[in-house]
Symmetry: C2
Subunit: 133 residues, 2 copies
């Protein structure tokens, strides 16, 4: 559990499929979150609306423009947008007609985060080659 682990993997993307989705959980042996990357070609998107049982989701849009369907509303989204959707949010996403949409989605058990960043990390005395004495 507490062992160091650095596992590098390149995203796979055939560049042609209407939807390409990669889940990282198994690739990286994740235990605290599930992370996926989704690409929708122009005009393409989720084929259904869904919600979640336990997991809170964070979305990060890294490329393009699209629409987020959320609880009956359709909201424009684009590169740089980030948003949280709680379990009950009824959601779906599509790309606009003239741009490919790429986003990451992070799932984590709602309420599971015990400590936040500044309390959880601690400095160590060792140095990387680029750190001055």
């Amino acid at each position: 559990m507490a062992q160091q682990n650095g596992n590098l993997a390149m995203w796979q993307d055939d560049g042609a499929s209407a939807e390409s989705k990669v889940f990282l959980g198994q690739i990286l042996a994740l235990t605290g979150s599930e992370v996926s990357r989704t690409k929708h070609l122009p005009g393409q998107g989720s084929g259904f609306v869904h919600a979640h049982r336990r997991n809170e989701e964070v979305y990060i849009v890294t490329q393009g423009k699209g629409w987020l369907y959320l609880d009956g509303a359709e909201i424009p989204i684009g590169e740089g947008n980030v948003f949280r959707i709680s379990c009950d949010g009824r959601r779906a996403i599509r790309a606009v007609n003239d741009a490919t949409l790429v986003y990451y989605c992070i799932q984590a058990d709602g309420g599971s985060l015990v400590q936040a960043t500044r309390d959880d990390g601690y400095r160590l005395p060792e140095r990387a080659t680029w750190m001055k004495e």
Copy 2:
């Protein structure tokens, strides 16, 4: 807790600071993970090595090239690389001398994920405007 919530926020980036870092936890009221975006200008990077008490980290490199210091080794990283680092991993990151490095880091309590994607999500009968009958 289980309410819907769609909270959109643009990343802020002054474009000039050697390091620019944004934490999403407070902005989006996250309860299952902490998500940050870091940008290091060419040749810049973490000033110290650190580890974590509880949180597993997932890194997603979205731009540029750099070096990951991990437990004494220095590993080349670049756009498209993703990696998990467990609590004990002794880590630091820098950009190479001729490129800006941008990455996202997801923290979640190690071992807290109860269900993964395909079990946790469930379809709903309602439809977005782009979904055919």
